[in-house]
């Protein structure tokens, strides 16, 4: 297949209403063959795992590339210099090296994002006034989330939509004025941003003694968690504060789980209870595996998530994350990383060593 053929096929695949097992497998295997042929490091990786397009019978047979490979290797089917856009991870871990995803076109990414976002976040609405608690695409051209939110506000934002973060800080006065305006007009309103950007806003509301009652149909969108960016917040507390602070029921507080290494995102159906069940559209599928053996764990048992995202066509479609979770009815549940687990011994672990070594370098 040529790149154009792949793009055309994928756009049609995404536009379709659904895909059965056979259709998903066929597309996944076609993509595997395409990536195997055009992406040299991925071909080496697959061969080392003893997998080639010849021996793969279903999407489950496609070797999953560990996400740290995105940091070490250039995984791209097109020559990297022909990429229209490169999304990079934030580089907060692993010695500051950033994982890269090259996109020769954003057509597939955008189609994937918009269709899924309309279905899972907009649902009944054609547009909604949005407040974006994240920088613009100009400021962060390599951030997939900045692009994601730009698509949201550009395509589905109402006339009174605004970015509300400037120079790295939230514009509290603007946020509260906009929310108050929505309360006064009775038009549904949405706040969208990284989970950690909601925390200082909630803190500021408490400081100012503010709460709001947004009109029915208003909703919240957060993504990415809190680790390392703001103080850590228990999920139940977070959604309780959001809900009581803005008068938006927890069922309308939606969390998106996405990654720079994917072109498709997962959503829950609100956070009435935590942790919520996440699921994605028909062009992405997930497995839960034992990370050491690569075998599927029995359904319901915890393991590491593997995603096969057809929309991530130029890079690799099947990735091995470092996220823990378990499969359940209607999707999977993400588990916090080793919550509350004490270290086993007094031997240094990689994460702690990096932190300590960085501390020493800073002295």
């Amino acid at each position: 297949m040529t790149q154009d053929q792949v793009i055309e096929a994928l756009l049609a695949f995404i536009a379709a209403d659904n895909a059965d097992d056979d259709a998903f497998n066929a597309m996944a295997l076609d993509l595997f063959a395409y990536q195997f042929e055009n992406n040299t490091p991925f071909r080496k990786f697959s061969m080392q795992r003893g997998r080639t397009p010849r021996t793969a019978k279903t999407w489950r047979d496609i070797p999953a590339v560990p996400i740290n490979a995105f940091k070490e290797l250039t995984l791209s089917c097109c020559p990297p210099e022909q990429a229209a856009r490169i999304f990079m991870t934030s580089g907060t871990t692993n010695e500051g090296i950033r994982g890269k995803s090259h996109h020769p076109t954003l057509a597939v990414y955008d189609a994937s994002m918009l269709k899924n976002f309309k279905h899972r976040f907009m649902s009944d609405l054609d547009q909604i006034d949005m407040g974006i608690l994240f920088p613009t695409e100009d400021v962060m051209p390599n951030s997939s989330l900045a692009h994601y939110l730009a698509l949201a506000i550009g395509n589905l934002g109402g006339p009174d939509s605004h970015y509300m973060m400037r120079h790295g800080g939230l514009e509290f006065d603007l946020i509260f004025a906009e929310v108050e305006r929505a309360v006064a007009t009775g038009v549904p309103y949405a706040l969208l941003g990284a989970s950690y950007s909601f925390v200082p806003m909630l803190d500021e509301m408490r400081r100012r003694g503010k709460t709001f009652a947004l009109p029915a149909g208003s909703r919240m969108f957060d993504t990415g968690g809190f680790k390392g960016q703001s103080r850590d917040v228990a999920l139940d507390d977070f959604y309780n504060q959001l809900s009581t602070g803005f008068g938006v029921p927890r069922s309308h507080c939606v969390n998106m789980y996405g990654m720079t290494e994917l072109s498709t995102q997962f959503f829950d159906w609100g956070n009435e209870t935590c942790p919520s069940v996440k699921s994605g559209p028909h062009w992405i599928r997930s497995r839960v595996i034992n990370p050491l053996t690569g075998e599927d764990v029995p359904r319901g048992e915890p393991g590491v998530l593997v995603h096969c995202d057809l929309a991530h066509f130029n890079i690799v479609s099947t990735i091995l994350t470092e996220d823990f979770g378990f499969e359940t009815d209607g999707g999977f549940v993400l588990l916090g990383r080793a919550d509350g687990e004490e270290a086993r011994g007094c031997s240094m672990a990689v994460e702690e060593f990096l932190k300590a070594a960085q501390g020493m370098a800073a002295e």
Partner: protein, 483 residues
Amino acid sequence: MIERAGYLPGLQPDDVEWQTLRFGPDDARLEIAVPVLSDTQMKALAGRVRDASRRHLKTLPVARIVDIIDRAIARMLDRDDPYRRKAEAMLPVVTGYDAEMIRLGLTGYLKTFRRQGLNAFLSEDFPNPQILDEFQPITKGGFARAIGPDILAHIWAGNVPGLPLWSLVSGLLVKSGNIGKVPSGEPLFAGWFAALLAEIEPSLADCFAIVWWKGGETSREAALLGEADVVLAYGGNESLEAIRNRMPITTRYLAYGHKISFGMISQTALDLRQAPATAHQAAYDIVRYDQQGCYSPHTFFVERGGRVSPQEFCLYLAHELACFERKYPRRDLSIAEAGDVAAWRHRQEVKSFSNAEVEVMGDAAGLWSVVYSEGDEEFAPSGLNRTVKIIAVDSLADVAPRVAPYRTLLQTAGIAAAPEELFVLAAALGQAGVTRICALGHMTAPEAGWHHDGRFNLLDIITMTEIERSAETAADAFASYAD
């Protein structure tokens, strides 16, 4: 089966709240009840220990304390003793380590604390151990006596069986009252040992206590920290820092952070006769407690130029690890630990794609991994749980500069080299921050009286009270028989 952890003199079990920790698979479930003390109970316990240690422990000659500990250790070494039987039955379930590995490990470890070992501990720190009993003349003139704190608080961590003994025995030898907090990963051993001591010498029954709280629970921790004269804690730097921040400034704090250790193999140890044995010993150090100890090796620097190349040495080592896996299988890993091992191994594999200098060997189920590297890559921890990196070097003299940037994190270097190399390397390693050098095969079993992280086990705990010569001379003037 329910086993009670802890040792709480003066408290009736019914007056204490208990929480249950569960260990082992469904068909061999072991439930351990751990005590959850109120602040008042913790304070009362501290008062009791302080008082008893003043009245009983501090009046015993140190030789007598040695005798009591020696008798307790003899009981723990006796495979028919009920405490020993309990340890052999329960510790494998609690920690997940192979039962035979624990049995052998316990015996080897406990032998360190027999009479001769205890005397080694004492004489390492006190040329004249009687200084713990009464004022002794000192070289500068005058007299001194070493006085243990009323309460030495121990905050233990990890799941390496028996680890609390190091500091508990140190505390007893200097006659301090001891209150130890056991970790959830191995909450049993310290309590058994305390009960055994009380059985052997009932007058000491109130001189120590073993407590528990959930890691990070600050209020109970604060209750103990407020009562202690000296606090000795093990753990990661983050939790150690948190403890320091909750402690009165006047309390002495001995923090033992997580460490990283490594091995060095000279070309002189890599002839065809020596290499297999060297690999066997290196593998043993890796396998013992699955690299959970601060003395466990993460990396081996292997010198080029021997009959067996560093790359060939990897094959020997891989073979040994595979054999050990049959003899002492690795503990079942939690999903988070498996994730860490997998992430580490994947990172190495990914490096090997872009870098011909890196090679990854391992078994399919991820039970062990050996990574070979001949580049100038950064010294770093392995993924633990039987994952190790072999770095080829032209000369072992290159190693000290490579590890020196991490000096505060270093601990043991296991060395296989000829005598003339050993002392030259040791000097450079000491400069770089290494505090313990031992033979391969001995990395996980420090000898009696070792200086943990380069410090003094006993001297760091005590205070010296000195009678200066002037006081002695002046006293003469007030004697009834003064001329």
